[in-house]
Each structure stands twice: as structure tokens, then as C-alpha cells.
Amino acid sequence: MAEGRRTIIGAKKPKFCINDHRDLLVEIMKRLDARSLGVAACVCRLWCSITRNDALWEHLCFRHALSPPSGVRTVVVALGGYKRLYMVCVEPVLSRLGTVKIGLDGDSGGGGTDGDSEVVRRVWRRYGTQLSLSLFSVDYYERLGARPDDSSASSLTFLCEPVNLGRC
């Protein structure tokens, strides 16, 4: 049989299955947003294990920020991992910053919303890492002292807004 040619009738067509190409899968998932990653985790066990890979979430956390210095990874991993960092600190911050203005250069009223959100994103790129890591460390610190069933006290509750999935 000719291996290079494909005929419609009778020949075996090599099927392309994405699950055979784990590295491709990872590359694709690196470009997804958090919600899609969550959805992908429900597809099959392979996909679920891939989405649990912290490297994916690291990529997600710093997609819109300057890539952090090398020491950050050990810190984040020690404090709970990038997935937790994203869920607790980065995602609420990003979703909040998309809708608010920061009064950075005096009063930024008057400029168009596009200009404002651009300023916000620029500021986030520079300082977002520091801020979310600070919040993350506070979160870890509070969990140290809290009993397992004690979910009341948390200084990060101000970040917890009811998620509006319709916004995506």
C-alpha cells in the first residue's frame, strides 16, 4: 500500500488525536483564560491533570504583567502555588481593574475610558506583581493562624465579589 497517498475508500487514514500530543495541548491551554481552563478540566482525566499543572497558571498570572524575577517562583510555590495565587489575588484584581479608573495623575476624569484602561493596564504591568504577591502573603499568613473550619476572618474578603459569569 502506498503510505503517502490517501484514498477515500479503503485506505487507513491516520487520525490526528490531540491527546497524543501533550505538549501541543499545553501550548494551547497556555493561551486560554481561567474560565476556559476550568471548563477544559472537566473534559477528561488527561486534560484535568494538565490544567492542574502550575506552570499553566504561572503563565496566566503574568500574562498581563512584566515577567517577574526568578526568585518569585519559589515564594509563590511555597505560599500555595500559582493556581491559588490566580484565584485569590490575580483574577479579582484583573476583573476589577478592567472596570475602574485609577486616579493616578491627579484626577483622571475627563479622559476617555480607553485611555483610562490603558493607564490601568500599564500600571498593572509594572506594579501588579508586587501587589498581588503582597495580598497573597497576607492570605497565607491568615491561613496559618486560622482553624480549618474558620472561614470568617479574611482580610481578602474585599476581593470576593459574587462572580458574574455573564460578564465573560
Binding site: P69, T74, R96, K101, V120, L133, F136, S154, F158, L159
Partner: protein, 581 residues
């Protein structure tokens, strides 16, 4: 003044110049007014030119009284344009006023005329008095008649009274032309001391009770200052009724201030020793959660400390008020991945003695040690228990030479407590200098609650805490945890109680403004360190994260950062180093 004369003269002529039966005023001797009195007498006015000011004042008061008591059954007066004997304005006014206030026995200042002069704003501190509802509505049996003359805007100077059209004012007693000084307490509040710069506003009905409430509070404070405790007590009942009619932040503020005033009147403030430090820690913890004030302070101070620590292999932070240690996790993690690797980090925490032998300081140290161990930062901790920072000796803190170790001193809401005892703050600042720190970060409330006059303090505190409660209300709208919000309010309420009800060494909430702290630090041998734009932007971004708290603003003030709600600053962060030379 001349215009008024002409118009009254014209009016009299139009009215026909009928006779009068004047019994009130007597001509005094020695009229040196250039014959004006004679002219008035010829026209039929039995009033002296020097009395014109009084007449104008009375008209003004009448206008105020009519405006504020409109809904109490005297509303017909505000539209009624008929009056008797227009030539006898002075007596007519007195009769009108006595109709509104039948028993003029109330007199907190000792004489009716002195009320007039204060009302004119000649004593700016005491110009606002209560405009409460007449007692016949409440059937109050107190011996004090609370239908005082409503306070008018202190901005009306003596010059402007001459512009009152005396004949026109009789006709325009309409509600919407009434001008009353209001106390800016709502979220549109602007900064500014109240008695000097009150602004006239046109009232709408819904705010009237709020205005009265504020006036009642201030009148009560003034009565307390004048040691007129029975009257103050009577006012407290009014305040209670008015406060219930309000909603939201205004009600809470009024309730706390009323309680504090009650405590001051009856001298029932609990002794300091019975205040539980662990309870105050818990309350501050909840305040930390709900309000960005403390977080703002921590972020900006940490940034300044980080910048001071750049390049040092060993660092030492001395925290004058470690409480739960919420400031330090962020600093430890930032040190962990700073370029060049983390330093050896030493933390000294100072706090008050806890009851029940609970070693809160050690718990904080343990948690921070765990955090530091997790992220790979060398960490040492010592906790010191002190009742007062003034007892602290520098030798206790084991300071290493500056070449070896960089020292930072941090104080959050702690230094103002030292002002209660004379000499304490100087001792502490000299202790700080002996520690040879590279940077001293101070976070304090931005308000002057340490003036010598009680009424000033009361007004300042009312303004400040109203803004604070407004900001909490703004934040609280989206908070899932309403318990934390309630606890934050209790935290602020305790401060209010201390500012208003206590005196002497027990009054520890002696907040001072940044300007005052600057002067003190300058004279003690410290130079300011400018907080950079990094701190500013981080603080701004932090605020942007708080939902519903759009009212917060970060402002830069000559190198220091201030967090404010709309235009009123609430918290300030400043950084200092030892003066060169």
C-alpha cells in the same frame, strides 16, 4: 445703612404714616449720629439709627425661626404678609418673636443681647446654636426651653445686614429663601472648620432633621464645655430622638457621639485598665478587613522600608504596635525575591500586656517565622511587652552597629497616644534617635483632636468621624461580611468615646495633623524622606481593588501620602530619617 433708611422712610410714607403706640424704647441721651435719629423721629419711627443693626438682626432671626419651624403649625406666618404698625418695626418684631418663643427664659449665654451678638458671628466659635423643635410638640417637661433662636450663618457679617430690605423681608418669608448654615456631614462633605466657614445652603426637607441633629450635637457639646450639664442632658434627649429619624452613617455617628457626650456628662467612662487589649486588637483586625485605611498605611510604609533596605544584607524592623502583625507578611515576601537575594530579617514587636496570659506577641512571631521559613527568608523575632512606649530603653533592643544592620522603626496609630502624658513623646523620639534608624515610618490619623478647647475637638471629631463612617458605608455596600463592618464601627466608636468623654491621661486618642507631626519631627532632629511614585501607584492600585470605594483618593502632600475620602484626608503616611549632622 442709608439705603435701609430711605426705604423705610418711603414705606412709611406709602403706608400713610399712621400713629403708633410705642412703649418700648426710650430715647437715650447723647445722640451723636448726625441728626439721623431726628429724621427718623420726624418720620414717625421711634427707633434710633444705632438700633437699626438690632432691628436687622431680629428680622434675620425671625426669618430663620419661621423657616425652620414651618412644619410646626406656624407655617401661616411664613406666608403671611400682613403685619401691624409698620412704623414700629422694632416692637413688631419683638411681638413676632415672642409669639414664636413665648417664654424667653432660655438663656445659655446669660443675656438675650449676647445671643444676638454671637449670632452675628462676632464670636465665631459659638455662633451655632440649636434649632430644635418647640417643646409643645414633644411635651418636654424640662425646665429649659429648647426653642432657642436658630443659628444663622456666621458668614453674614455686620455689613450685609444693612442690605436687608426691611420692608421686603416682611414679605419674603418663604421656605425656599431661608438660608441656614449647614454642617457638611454627608459624602459630599468638604474640609474646613465649621464655625468660620459655614456655607449657606438651600435646604430640602429630608435633610432638615439631619441639620438639626448636628446643631443639637454641637449645642450639647457647647453646653458641656460651659458646664451647663442639665441643659446638655436635656439636649441629649432631643439628639436621641433626632438620631433615630436618620438613616445610615449619620445615625451611627450621632449615636456614638451622643453616647460619648452622655459619658462625659455623667462621668462614667470605664477605667483604662478594664479595656481589653485583645478586644481592641480584634476590632482593629476587622477594621483592617473592611476599610482600606490600614492597608494603605501598610503598603506605603512597606514600600518606604523596602527602598531604605535596598542593598543591606541584614535588616531590623522595630514595630511600635505589632498588634496582629498584618503589615509584615508582605514585607517578608517582598524581601524574599528582591534582586540580590533576601536579607537576614529581624523583627522586634512591641505591644501591651494581654490578659489571661495569652502571649499574643509570641503567636505573631511564630506565624511570621513560619511564613519566613516557607519562603526562605532568615527570620528572627523578639517580642517586648510594654504598657507605654516611653518606658522603652534603647539598650533593651539589642541594636547592632549601623554598618552591620539597617534599622527601620515603624509606628501605626501609636505615637499620638504618647501625647497624653507630657514628656513621653520627647522621650520616645530620643529613644528612636538612639536606635540610629535608616528610616522611621509613621502612620497616623489626619485630624486635630488634641486642641485645648473641648468644643473645637468635638467639631473636628464630628467632621472626621462622619467622613470615616461615610467611607465605611461606601465600602460596606459590597462587603459580604457585615459582621466585620459592625466591628469596624465599634472600633471607631471607641475612639470617638475616648476623644469626647475622656480627659487627662485617659484621653489617648490625641490625633494630630500631618503638619503638626512634621513640626514635631523637624524640631526633634529628623529629616523627611519622600515617599516615591512607586508607593503612590501601589496605593492607588490597592484602592482601585476595593469595590464600591470610589470615593477614596490617594494624595501626595510634600513627600507624604494621604488617603482621603472625597476631599477630606483621613490617614497620612510619612517617612523620616535622622537629620544630617
Amino acid at each position: 445703612m442709608n439705603r435701609a433708611y430711605e426705604e423705610t422712610a418711603r414705606n412709611h410714607q406709602l403706608a400713610g404714616g399712621e400713629g403708633y403706640s410705642y412703649e418700648g424704647r426710650m430715647w437715650e441721651e447723647g445722640r451723636g449720629d448726625g441728626g439721623m435719629d431726628e429724621l427718623l423721629a420726624v418720620l414717625g419711627y421711634k427707633v434710633k439709627s444705632s438700633d437699626m443693626a438690632d432691628v436687622a438682626q431680629k428680622i434675620e432671626q425671625l426669618e430663620m425661626a419661621m423657616g425652620t419651624v414651618q412644619d410646626d403649625g406656624i407655617s401661616h406666618l411664613s406666608c403671611d404678609t400682613i403685619h401691624y404698625n409698620p412704623s414700629d418695626i422694632s416692637r413688631w418684631l419683638e411681638s413676632m418673636l415672642s409669639e414664636l418663643n413665648p417664654s424667653q427664659t432660655f438663656d445659655p449665654n446669660g443675656s438675650f443681647s449676647s445671643i444676638q451678638s454671637t449670632v452675628l458671628g462676632q464670636q465665631p466659635q459659638s455662633s451655632i446654636v440649636s434649632s430644635t423643635v418647640p417643646s409643645r410638640i414633644y411635651e418636654d417637661d424640662s425646665e429649659y426651653d429648647l426653642r432657642v433662636i436658630p443659628g444663622i450663618a456666621a458668614c453674614k457679617s455686620a455689613d450685609s445686614t444693612s442690605d436687608l430690605q426691611i420692608e421686603g423681608s416682611c414679605k419674603r418669608m418663604k421656605r425656599d429663601s431661608c438660608q441656614i448654615s449647614t454642617f457638611p456631614v454627608n459624602s459630599a462633605a468638604t474640609a474646613g472648620s465649621v464655625p468660620e466657614t459655614t456655607r449657606p445652603l438651600v435646604l430640602v426637607d429630608s435633610q432638615e432633621a439631619g441639620v438639626r441633629l448636628v446643631h443639637a450635637l454641637i449645642a450639647c457639646a457647647k453646653a458641656v464645655q460651659n458646664d451647663n450639664l442639665q441643659f446638655a442632658d436635656a439636649l441629649l434627649k432631643q439628639i436621641g430622638l433626632l438620631a433615630v429619624s436618620q438613616a445610615g452613617a449619620m445615625r451611627k455617628v450621632a449615636t456614638y457621639f451622643a453616647e460619648a457626650l452622655a459619658r462625659r456628662i455623667y462621668d462614667i467612662y470605664p477605667q483604662k485598665s478594664s479595656i481589653d487589649p485583645s478586644l481592641s486588637d480584634v476590632l482593629q483586625m476587622h477594621f483592617y478587613e473592611t476599610c482600606p485605611c490600614l492597608k494603605f498605611g501598610h503598603v506605603t510604609a512597606n514600600q518606604a522600608i523596602m527602598e531604605a533596605f535596598a542593598g543591606s544584607p541584614r535588616v531590623h524592623v522595630i514595630d511600635f504596635s505589632i498588634k496582629q502583625g498584618m503589615q509584615w507578611p508582605a514585607l517578608v515576601q517582598a524581601l524574599a525575591w528582591r534582586p540580590g537575594g533576601p536579607p537576614a530579617f529581624r523583627l522586634t514587636g512591641i505591644g501591651p500586656r494581654q490578659p489571661d496570659n495569652i502571649d499574643a506577641l509570641q503567636q505573631v512571631g511564630w506565624k511570621l517565622a513560619q511564613l519566613a521559613d516557607t519562603i526562605g527568608v532568615e527570620f528572627h523575632y523578639r517580642g517586648f511587652v510594654y504598657e507605654s512606649l516611653a518606658d522603652l530603653e534603647p539598650s533593651v533592643l539589642d541594636i547592632r552597629p549601623s554598618a552591620e544592620e539597617t534599622v527601620a522603626v515603624n509606628s501605626v496609630f501609636e505615637l499620638h497616644r504618647l501625647l497624653a502624658r507630657p514628656g513621653s513623646i520627647e522621650k520616645v523620639l530620643s529613644t528612636v534617635k538612639a536606635l540610629r534608624p535608616k528610616i522611621v515610618t509613621i502612620i497616623e490619623q489626619e485630624a486635630n483632636h488634641n486642641g485645648p478647647v473641648f468644643l473645637d475637638r468635638f467639631n473636628e471629631a464630628l467632621h472626621y468621624y462622619s467622613t470615616m463612617f461615610d467611607s465605611l458605608e461606601g465600602c460596606g455596600l459590597t462587603q459580604p461580611n457585615s459582621q466585620a463592618l459592625a466591628m469596624s464601627e465599634v472600633y471607631l466608636g471607641r475612639q470617638i468615646c475616648n476623644v469626647v468623654a475622656c480627659e487627662g491621661t485617659e484621653r489617648v486618642e490625641r490625633h494630630e495633623t500631618l503638619t503638626q507631626w512634621r513640626a514635631r519631627m523637624d524640631s526633634s532632629g529628623f529629616d523627611p524622606v519622600h515617599l516615591g511614585s512607586n508607593a503612590f501607584k501601589q496605593a492607588s492600585m490597592l484602592l482601585a481593588l476595593f469595590p464600591g470605594c470610589d470615593g477614596y483618593r490617594v494624595e501626595e502632600n510634600d513627600g507624604c501620602l494621604m488617603l482621603g475620602w472625597h476631599s477630606r484626608p483621613l490617614i497620612s503616611t510619612s517617612a523620616w530619617r535622622l537629620a544630617a549632622g
